[in-house]
């Protein structure tokens, strides 16, 4: 794993107007949570990798001979908590063809990026049936990078199975202050058995669900002579003969839609907004759209 700045990766994907809009939307979230806030120019500090180049104070940098950025201080700091499903299901292939974990980490990075821009703190609760990782809320670029790096390292096909209840429960107990809980999982979750915890979480915090869509087992390989298709949880024996069958795919799509509808119904019951993405490419647009939906809902 080379030293890559995940936040820089997000920035590479964020066009400026979109970033502004996303930040503004996140701003809207704050308004709904805290009434009143300030934006005072605080101080200058050294530029560290991952900081936005737009924040560089060029005059000060020229005087000092090293890059210096302006920092803003906000009275209203929001806690964002990334509640991440790290079960082995997240190491499978997404509908867009990447690993779902890649998309999940990108979503987490986007959230962290936007939060850092506002000076909000980001905490992490990641877990599955056996592991549980918690990171305290942090705002600095480096802390966020470390956190995201750690998160990215947790995904593996041989990881324990998914169990959303554990990170949800931990998030419930660990954060007393009203926060924005961002649940990152896949399209099949939250399942009905998670509804109780989700409802409790919903009472105390804002909750959003960012889900990654699964690739269809029937269409995943382009044809024969490809690697075998296997399920991370099941004994899946899917011979090539059964793949690329239109009739089967249509029926499978129906079943998948029904499953997604179940999840959507659950979220609607709990008044939780969510989104489902296929790949990293549509994360930003969907996320902006989601923030917009949430803001309208809170008016």
């Amino acid at each position: 794993m080379t030293e890559i700045s995940r936040l820089a990766q997000v920035r590479a994907r964020l066009e400026l107007p979109v970033a502004r809009r996303a930040a503004g939307l996140l701003e809207g979230r704050h308004r709904s949570i805290f009434k009143g806030h300030g934006q005072d120019f605080d101080d200058l500090s050294l530029y560290s990798p991952g900081d936005d180049v737009g924040d560089v104070d060029w005059k000060s940098s020229a005087r000092a001979g090293i890059p210096i950025i302006r920092r803003f201080v906000r009275q209203s700091n929001l806690n964002l908590v990334l509640v991440v499903d790290t079960g082995r299901n997240m190491a499978a292939v997404s509908a867009g063809g990447e690993e779902k974990s890649t998309v999940a980490v990108f979503m987490a990075s986007l959230v962290a990026y936007l939060a850092r821009d506002r000076g909000d703190r980001v905490a992490l609760v990641a877990g599955d049936a056996e592991r549980l990782v918690q990171r305290p809320p942090r705002a600095s670029t480096r802390d966020l990078e470390v956190m995201l790096h750690h998160l990215a390292g947790m995904f593996d096909v041989d990881a324990p199975a998914s169990d959303l209840d554990r990170p949800l429960e931990r998030a419930m107990n660990a954060f007393q202050r009203r926060s924005l809980m961002i649940l990152i999982t896949d399209e099949a979750r939250p399942e009905p058995q998670h509804e109780r915890l989700l409802r409790q979480l919903r009472v105390r915090h804002e909750v959003m669900v960012l889900a990654v869509a699964d690739a269809s087992a029937l269409t995943i390989t382009g044809g024969p002579t490809k690697s075998p298709v296997r399920d991370v949880d099941d004994d899946l024996h899917l011979p090539a003969y059964l793949q690329q069958r239109r009739g089967l795919q249509r029926s499978a799509d129906k079943v998948v839609h029904a499953r997604r509808a179940l999840v959507a119904d659950l979220l609607r019951r709990q008044q939780v907004h969510g989104m489902v993405v296929d790949s990293s490419d549509d994360v930003v647009d969907r996320f902006v759209e989601l923030l917009g939906r949430q803001r309208r809902a809170h008016r």
């Binding site: 082995r88 299901n89 997240m90 190491a91 499978a92 292939v93 779902k100 096909v157 041989d158 896949d186 399209e187 099949a188 699964d214 690739a215 269809s216 087992a217 029937l218 995943i220 390989t221 044809g223 024969p224 002579t225 490809k226 690697s227 075998p228 298709v229 296997r230 399920d231 991370v232 949880d233 099941d234 899946l236 899917l238 011979p239 090539a240 003969y241 059964l242 069958r245 009739g247 089967l248 029926s251 499978a252 079943v255 998948v256 499953r259």
Partner: protein
Amino acid sequence: MVILAAGEVTSSIRWPWLVAVVLVVVAAAALVAWYTARHPRSARSEEAVWVANSEYLQQIPELRAWVRRYRALQWLGVTGLLVATVGTAVIAARPADVSVVNQKLGTRDIVLCLDVSGSMLEYDKEMVEVFSGLVESFEGERIALSIFNSTSRTVFPLTDDYTLVQDQLVEATAALDPVVTYTDDAEALDRYMLFTAGTTGTTDGSSLIGDGLASCVLQFDEAETERSRSIILATDNDLMGAPIYSLQESVDLAASRGISLNGLYGASDWGGSENLEREYREAIEGAGGMYFYSDDAEAVETMVRDVQAQQAVDLDASPEVTSADKAGPWFLWAVLGVTLLVVVQWRLRE
């Protein structure tokens, strides 16, 4: 049709144990393949494409039908493999046609000794016709034709030049036409006269049977090689004149040279004498030959067949065994099996 070179053809398998070997090897390979397919090594997890939440596949109504189809195809493939294996195993074991060829049957010398006096023409003609039919199935046998009346003429000596033999026999058939005894047809007479020229070398007698038979005995060459020698004599034993060899003497001569002698008695229309016939029969049968009285048209053919049967028993030489590989239908089965397997695997995309 009579076959002179009787060959006994039997099917056999050269290495029957190889069938078992091939079957066992293929079965072992199939078992290994099956085992590795069922127990993929964990190292393959890197090659696999991982999906999650695929339980919903079980809820697809059409899936079961497709799985059934898949299984059916698989079994078809197994059937193809089995058929191909069995076919290949049998071919590997080298099924062969083993033919026992009695080369001795090809070392037969037959001299046709025909009395061409007018009364015998009918039988001569038939004899010649039968032999011209037989020549086609000859392989190595030699045949000679000698005709006699008061003296002998060798039409052709012992030879296996069947083209020549056929030509001569056809000619003989045309010439030995019984019609010459009462016709004025110059052409037929000419043919007869030309063919029998030299058989009336002396004027003091006709049908000097003893001399004719002795001449036939002298036809046999290669006395030191072991060959089956037989004379087929056709005569009415109607002797006129003083021969050098009496019938009995010439029969003894033939016997002394190890030549089997078979006689055909031509009962002429003018009625042969009973004494003559008895003398002839006793001479032939005394020498251990077969004697045929020709009333019926089948006589000649029956005689020839009997001669052959008799000789086939006589020849006790070591038979030559030749075997020719003969895959027969097994090759087709193997190809069919492999084709089935290939087609099924193509359909299964594996």
